[in-house]
Amino acid sequence: SQTIHQWPATLVQPVGSPLSLECTVEGTSNPNLYWYRQAAGRGLQLLFYSVGIGQISSEVPQNLSASRPQDRQFILSSKKLLLSDSGFYLCAWSGQGPASWETQYFGPGTRLLVL
């Protein structure tokens, strides 16, 4: 069966510090991968998605970046965090088909607080 991992689970970082969040998927190959952010009490905002190694599409211009160095690894990074980067970061995976009919499965999330 497929499993998706995210770490760390919780992170408190000062403004201006760098960020690296990691997501890995087990039990499948060639998945589509996604990064979402959820502000407190709000909906899911798609940040990045990837359909293959090294292929990243950005949805929201901001100080975050994503990379996919391996087939089942997705990394979210920032060089300098802003207060507005605080939130709940969710990684998700789906099969290789179109997003319209592929189920997205979410990881446990990373709660980031920027102070």
């Binding site: 709000r42 909906g43 798609l46 998605y49 359909v51 179109p98 319209s100 189920t103 997205q104 446990p108």
Partner: protein, 112 residues
């Protein structure tokens, strides 16, 4: 173009029914429904593809009216475990654009 969910919040007693609506101003290919408990990841409930189909899962079912560009989630005889925030995610095409656009969520609270 984020889909609009209504109502924003609803409070029920155990055993009561609820309907959550998801409407889009754009043509839809699919609607995905998720439930999220506080502090946890969203859990997939069901996908509906265009064609006006209706699906059911235990006492939770949904319909999709592509002409009206809307979907409704029906929760019957609600249980305490149904509490959480429900999101609809809309897919607009059959190409691999990689995107679902999620609504703002509907918070459901079921009381004993």
């Amino acid at each position: 173009q984020q889909p609009v969910q209504s109502p924003q919040a609803v409070i029920l007693r155990e055993g009561e029914d609820a309907v959550i609506n998801c409407s889009s101003s754009k043509a839809l290919y699919s609607v995905h429904w998720y439930r999220q408990k506080h502090g946890e990841a969203p859990i997939f409930l069901m996908i509906l593809l265009k064609g006006g189909e209706q699906k059911g899962h235990d006492k939770i079912s949904a319909s999709f009216n592509e002409k009206k560009q809307q979907s409704s989630l029906y929760l019957t005889a609600s249980q305490l475990s149904y509490s959480g925030t429900y999101f609809c995610g809309t897919g607009r095409g059959s190409s691999n654009t990689g995107k679902l656009i999620f609504g703002q969520g509907t918070t459901l609270q079921v009381k004993p």
